[in-house]
Each structure stands twice: as C-alpha cells, then as structure tokens.
Symmetry: C2
Subunit: 321 residues, 2 copies
Amino acid sequence: MNKPSSLIDVARRAKVNISTVSRTINQTGKIGSETQARVRKAMRELGYKPNRVARRLRTRDSSSHLLGLIIPNIQNIFFADLARGVEDVAYKSNYAVLLCNYDEDEAKERFYLDVLQSESVDGIILPPIHETDPAVLQVVRNGTPVVCVDRSLSSGNLDKVEVDNHTGALKAVEHIIARGHRRIGLIGGPADSSTGRERLRGYKDAHAQAGLALKPELIRFGDYKQASGETIAHELLSLAEPPTALFACNGLMTAGALEAIAARGLKMLPDVFNPPLTVVRQPAYEVGKYAAELLLKRIEDGKRPATSLKLMPELIIRKSC
Amino acid sequence: MNKPSSLIDVARRAKVNISTVSRTINQTGKIGSETQARVRKAMRELGYKPNRVARRLRTRDSSSHLLGLIIPNIQNIFFADLARGVEDVAYKSNYAVLLCNYDEDEAKERFYLDVLQSESVDGIILPPIHETDPAVLQVVRNGTPVVCVDRSLSSGNLDKVEVDNHTGALKAVEHIIARGHRRIGLIGGPADSSTGRERLRGYKDAHAQAGLALKPELIRFGDYKQASGETIAHELLSLAEPPTALFACNGLMTAGALEAIAARGLKMLPDVFNPPLTVVRQPAYEVGKYAAELLLKRIEDGKRPATSLKLMPELIIRKSC
DNA sequence: CAAATTTATGCAAACGTTTGCCGCCACCTT
DNA sequence: AAGGTGGCGGCAAACGTTTGCATAAATTTG
C-alpha cells in the first residue's frame, strides 16, 4: 500500500534537483559522473521505477513506449501468431502492447482507436476493416503512426506488411494440379475482401497456366468461418461430378471442410475421395514482427518513406488426412 | 497533425470553467441541466475525447480503466481464449487490456509487472509463474488488485479462478476405463506444476475407483510441449505390452502424441491400436471472463473477501481419429 | 588576467485531468 | 428583515514527469 517513490524522493535523497535525476535517467543534458553515481545509488536504494503515465502525459512525441494492436480476434491463430510477433519486437525495445479485439465490428474499432489515441500510444498496428476505413484515416491524419497488416488501405500511403495471397493460392493449386487433379473445388473467402479476391485470382491463374478450364460450379464463396467451409464442402461433394480435391481459403473453412469430409467419410469408399491435405502456411508471426519493426522505425523518423512488405506464404505438403 | 482538444478548449467554447466540464463528463457534483447541455454541445462540436493518460495520472485509485494481463504465450490456444474472455468483459466496462507474454521467464515477468505498475493499471490478471512468486506478492503488497488464473499462489489470499483439473482428468480416465481399456498410458505434465500434479491425481483416482492397479511403466511426464508428447508416445507404444489408450495432459502433448501415432500408424494394424480421441475441454474463455469480473469487483471494493472459483472442464467424447 | 565559452545544475512551467474548497445567488424560514 | 440552506460553478492545487531557460562554477581563450 506504500505509494511508489517519485523523482522527488530520489532527488531529495541524492540532494539534487528533480531535473538532474530525470536527466541522469534519460541520459540527456550534461550531468557530472559523480552526481550520476549518487543519483543512481538513491534510485537503487528506493527501488525507484519511473512512472510511465506521467512521462507519457508530458512528452507528446513518441517515447511513451506503448504500442496499440487492434485485431479481429486473438482466438484466430493467425492473429495470435501475429500478435506474438509484434509483442516480441516490442519487448526487445522496451515497448508494451495494448491489445484490442474488434470482431470486424466498426463500432468496436472506433472505440479502440479512440482509446489508443487517448492513451497516447506511439503507434498502431491493425488490419483495416475495409479498404477505405475513415476512422483509420482520421487517426493517420492526427499524426499517429499506423502500420497496416494483412489487408491494406487504398488511400494514404502507409507502411504495410501483407502476405502474398495470390502466389500462395497459385502455388497451392499448382501443386494440386501437379498431383493429377483436374476438378478442384474452391471454398473461397468473401468476394469483398482483398485476401479473398487475391486467392481467387491465384486459383484461376493456376488453372490458366495448366490450360485447365474453370468449372463455375466448383467455385463457391464462404465467409472465412468454419460453418461456411462445412456447408460448401457438403455442396461440392454432393455434385453429380464432385471435385477430387478441395482448396479452402483459410484455416477455419478448412476445418469445416474436414468435418464435412469426415461426416461423409463413412459413406464413401476411402479411395474414391481421399483429399490430399496440403496447407499454405501464412507467415503470421513474421507479419507481426516486420510490422512492429516498421512501426518502431516510423516512430523514430516520421518522415521516412512508407515501405510496403509482401511476405511469401509457405506451401506445406502433408500426406492425406 | 492538429493536436486533440482538451478540457480547456471545451470550457472556453461553452463559456464555463474546466471543472464544470470535467464534472459533466463524470457526472460528479451538481451541474445545471442547461449548463450540461451547453458543455455537451461544445464537446460534440470539438470532437472532444478525454485524455486517459492525464486522468490516470491524476487519479491514483482505480478509474484508470486499464487492466493488465500477463500470460505465458498468446499462441497457446488456452491463453488466447482466456485473453478473449478477459477482453470481452473489459470492453463491456470500457476497460482496455495491456497484454504481456512472459514465456515462463521470470525476468520477463518482472519486467512486465514493473511496466504494469508503472502504467498504473487498475488491476492485473495472471497465472503466477510458481506457487510462491515473490514478484507477484510484492505487487499485491503495493496494493494493486491481482487475480490469479489457472495456477494459484500459495500465500496471500487472492481472488483466483482455476480449472478443476483433478475432476477433469478423473472423468476422462473414467471414460477411457468405461470403454474397456485396462492399460492407459499417461503423458503427464511437469511434476512440479500444480496442474500436472492434479491431473496425475485424477488419473490415479480413476484407477483406484475401478480397482485397477497402476502400472508405473505407463506413467511418464512431459513438459507440456509438443515434442515431449511425441517422444513419450513413442516410448509408450514401444513397450513390450503397449497401452491400448493414451491420456495426454494438455493439448500440445496430445498433438505430439497424434503425430507419433500417425507416424507409426502405417506400420500398425489399425485395429490393434486405435486410440479413442476424447478431450477435456478447458473452459478457458470462462476462466478469463470470471477472472476479469472478479478483478473489476475488487477494483470497485478493495475490501471484499477474496473469492476462489473452480471451473469444471467438459469432457468431449469424439469418435476415434 | 579579463573575457568568453563550456559544463553542471537548479528553477519553474507545462502536459490534461480531478477535486477540495470557497463563494455566489436564490429561496426559505423565523 | 436577518439569517440559514442548498444548488451551482469557479479557483487552484496536485498527479510525476520533461525541458527551456537561467545561473553559477569551471575552463578555455585572446
């Protein structure tokens, strides 16, 4: 219950002014070495810990050592990995991370953007809710450094780090084709998401490269949630001429599709339909890591040109399930 | 780049003193309704957002509207779910959550405890690194509300919410026994973790209840990581008289065990060894939710008696893999 | 050796709130 | 008519820092 010691306590004990203490801590200004030693000793004896809140209030520009991370849902492994990447580089630079889940809910996103600004975070990392997100643009206009991840913002040239979804899908479908499949079902992402569109493009390009015609009945769009993967898989497998392989556009829909396959598995001869499970590993941790690095650089130098990173996903080829 | 408006700006525009504005916002003190209306109008017009940092600096006691959450690793689904539970109730009460991953590293834990105190969080939720965690006790002594989750702290009667690991393991092993298994391999948690010990006790009690003798060679301890699950599963399956079922003490070790089984699956006749995959679902989200609720209550009333919740895990019975 | 410069430290304002205290006004009560 | 009461709102201090400016001492310079 004893309240923590402040600069004043340290100053009193070291018989100096508080500004001297502040300057020894921050290594700013000229302070004699013997004075510094005395101050340090006092700090040690009192167990002094600087108050980040006061510091944050005082210094408008950077140095608040706090980052904001706004993501749809931490329960999604992609964002958990991403968050971990952010947190790791933040920790290395003595930054803490304020985590916000916004559930693709614009009201929640706005609330958190307000909170983060109100907390004077040094910068914010987030996947914009859609390509022209006015709330985010407002924040950028306020001068808060922002790095976009996963998705991007059409206007405003911001730092961003994305995954090359087109190439990822392309390689995956190429691989499926190479394994001899000719009828590949697509469980796509929402048509209005950039990630969904890019993956669709990869699917189509792979077909084009192989000289394979697209079969419209094999192409369906879900909403990135498990249930839709299951539904669509059922639909596809119920076709008169079902696909011999499926390409699902994210992890949750893949899980749903596997449920569907398992449910039908009993009724089907295993070799009639034995889908090879190959996954496109999103470099989520790396996305977070690079985003945080970019953000820290921008915090240090607000004038540097915006850089845009595109990370390549990895194709992981597994045996059939 | 325009700096945000402050109480002063609002006060000027509404032609009142800043204290009047503050009091209208916080609904404290007596302010006439027409004055309030004028103030609100000014706030709206200026797009005023209160500065949480200044507020936090000023008010030592509670009302900083910030919670700290320190967990081993957000990539662990258990903690991701827990974090989500915390965040959801925090959001409902207009709190934000500062997330810290400490990786079971004491230095990191100390760093983050310092940061959280330095940020004047209203309270902290964490699984203590071990049962007598001096750093955490120090924080408690400083008067910061703390709620323990998952594991508990031996001394200091704190609010805590845990999972009933003993019953969970007991029910799971009972279920396995009921399915006719007599040789059940245990892939246990670390012997020095309370969760590991409790689950071991459940395993043993289930055997005792069924009048089954324990076979020491079937009981092995891992470290809750995937690799150890795989290694131990291989060991167990290599025994002259292998177990007919396995009970792994957490999700990652289960995954490792499944890898091992899959790797051997080709060489084994499927009906010789066909482990039923039944899982004990930890109510992680609920743990986080209740912990946050407890914490908010304690923030409101520091004198309330410490309450201790024990949540029951759910046995989810699946078909064999 | 006086003047100019550098070095080391103190002083006090500012960041944006909250809040105890005081005063004003209007309305009752004797 | 004098005093009391209560509603309303202003004044200013405080929270713990950082930092521009002033100043004293020490050092270099001409």
